[in-house]
């Protein structure tokens, strides 16, 4: 039933985020479809549309997961409901595991749903049937984006306040994007991994080449460290 609680707690935010993401992704692809006539000579136009839409999706996705990961015991403490949760016969680690699980499930759902819609719409207006390309984008978004999910989780366990925590979380994300935006630092930027620009074949406008396992593994390891840190913080915290 902790999953049920986690779902009810985030349901409104998740559905709002899903709606916004689907709307934006659809709009981007449909607009690209509408411009297809002007790009008759470009065989890769619809892949280009998909890649552009993915870049916008990545930004909105980071914003969405950051807001979705806000909440939990610290927010409950602010509204006075943490005593009820902490009196239940469950450990804090268990509460955190469910929250992390629900957060990642929702993050993955947002990414997959957006890509399904984008893929279908792009193929309605043209030809962009490469599942490999879609898989590449999704892999980078979800695995590369895991660090943002964990970061939001960590901030939500450290900083109380309904508005302070998301402001700090997104502020730091923005700072990282700006500071690590240009070469050579951009190879360390999680946001450039997310968009996949570095792996884009400019001729086909598809992602390709060997999958950057080392970079993805390092990102997942960092995300895991932050998630473990968040659990430890929560276990030691006094309410």
């Amino acid at each position: 039933m902790l999953w049920y609680k986690a779902w009810l707690e985030t349901r409104a935010r998740f559905l709002a985020a899903l709606g916004a993401i689907l709307l934006l992704s659809s709009f981007q692809v449909l607009r690209g479809n509408g411009e297809a006539d002007r790009h008759l000579l470009s065989l890769s136009w619809h892949y280009e549309v998909l890649h552009r839409a993915h870049s916008s999706l990545a930004m909105l996705w980071v914003l969405a997961v950051s807001l979705l990961m806000m909440g939990g015991l610290i927010r409950e403490m602010a509204v006075g409901a943490s005593d009820f949760t902490l009196a239940l016969p469950v450990s804090r680690a268990q509460l955190m595991r469910v929250r992390i699980g629900m957060g990642f499930l929702q993050a993955i759902t947002l990414a997959v749903a957006a890509w399904i819609v984008m893929f279908l719409l792009a193929n309605l207006g043209g030809d962009a049937r490469s599942l490999e390309n879609a898989g590449w984008h999704l892999l980078l978004l979800v695995v590369g984006g895991s660090v943002f999910v964990s970061w939001a989780l960590l901030v939500s366990t450290l900083i109380p306040g309904e508005y302070t925590a998301p402001a700090v979380c997104l502020g730091v994300v923005l700072l990282v994007v700006i500071v690590l935006g240009d070469p050579p630092l951009n190879q360390w930027s999680p946001s450039s991994l997310l968009t996949g620009n570095e792996y884009l074949n400019r001729r086909t406008m598809m992602l390709g080449g060997p999958i950057p396992w080392v970079r993805l593994t390092a990102t997942v390891a960092m995300a895991a460290l932050m998630a473990i840190g968040a659990v430890k913080v929560m276990q030691r915290r006094e309410f």
């Binding site: 009810l8 009196a87 016969p89």
Partner: protein, 296 residues
């Protein structure tokens, strides 16, 4: 074999920086009784309760609830399966409906009593489909009490349980506590409402500045605690009373007021030996005992 107390602490202390919220508390709450936990605001009652439930870590000392160590996370989880707690502000999940919250809570307790749940739902007139955030303060309190009562706890800990309740609600709460205790639940509740405590408690513990200053049964108070007003024909000079059972002495001119916790006959005989012109013995209520105890 004697049964372990429901709650036991040994030199339990909690510091917030340089402030000592709870000071070497030795508390023992017997099973199958209603124990009132009294103290002024900031006396350390809520901090003590939160340490017992594992929400806060003691700075030093140790404690156990239903035989489970309070500072061991896994034992604390096991303990919370048998303990129900109603916090002071009784806030619950505003995003759930009453029905969803009941189902959610019930899922953690195999002994959940559906008949109690249904009875209290009807009695408290709680709307099952209404969102918790749309409930009034009194309804919040009633829902929190339902969630605690229906889980059939071995120990029920309540922090200011009557807050937000109307007189009828308070009456129902007190009846509920007595009824639960009769069924074998130990009740430990903090309150500022002394008449409520006096009505239902078997025992009271009084906390002042984080220290336990009284640990006494209500029967003992009723039987032995007295205020003795003595009027002497002369004004006693440098008056000192060193008698067993006298906890406090107030002198105003020819009148001396003694607060006794026993040895009443000896005290009255002592007053007579000074040729007191009037001796008036009146029983002390919990309110007077509380006020005298924390003013000492």
């Amino acid at each position: 074999m004697t049964e372990l107390p429901a709650i036991q602490t040994h030199r339990l202390s909690k510091w917030y920086g340089r402030t000592e919220a709870v000071r070497e508390l030795n508390l023992s709450v017997a099973r199958n009784r209603i124990t009132g936990f009294l103290g002024r605001n900031g006396a350390g009652k809520t901090t003590t309760i939160k340490m017992l439930l594992g929400m806060m870590r003691p700075t030093s000392g140790e404690g156990s609830v239903l035989g489970k160590k309070i500072d061991d996370p896994s034992e604390s989880v096991a303990m919370r399966r048998e303990v129900a707690y109603v916090s002071e502000d009784k806030r619950l999940y505003g995003y759930m409906t009453v029905g969803q919250l009941i189902r959610f809570t019930a899922s953690f307790y195999p002994d959940w009593q559906v008949d109690v749940e249904q009875t209290l739902l009807k009695k408290y007139e709680l709307p099952v489909s209404r969102k918790v955030k749309a409930l009034s303060k009194g309804m919040h309190t009633k829902l929190a009490l339902l969630l605690a009562f229906a889980r059939k706890p071995k120990l029920l800990i309540l922090d200011e349980p009557s807050g937000g309740l109307d007189p009828v609600g308070v009456e129902e709460l007190l009846e509920g506590l007595v009824s639960l205790c009769a069924q074998g639940t130990t009740v430990f509740f903090s309150s500022h409402q002394i008449p409520e405590v006096e009505r239902v408690a078997d025992h009271v513990c009084i906390l002042e500045h984080g220290r336990l200053v009284a640990d006494v049964s209500l029967d003992e108070i009723r039987q032995s605690y007295r205020q003795i007003n003595v009027v002497f024909p002369f004004e006693p000079a440098n008056f000192q009373v060193k008698l067993d059972g006298v906890s406090k002495v107030e002198t105003r001119g020819r009148q001396v007021r003694l607060f006794a916790t026993g040895h009443l006959e000896e005290i009255v005989n002592w007053a007579r030996s000074f040729e007191a012109s009037a001796i008036d013995v009146t029983p002390l209520g919990l309110r007077e005992v509380f006020l005298k105890t924390i003013q000492e």
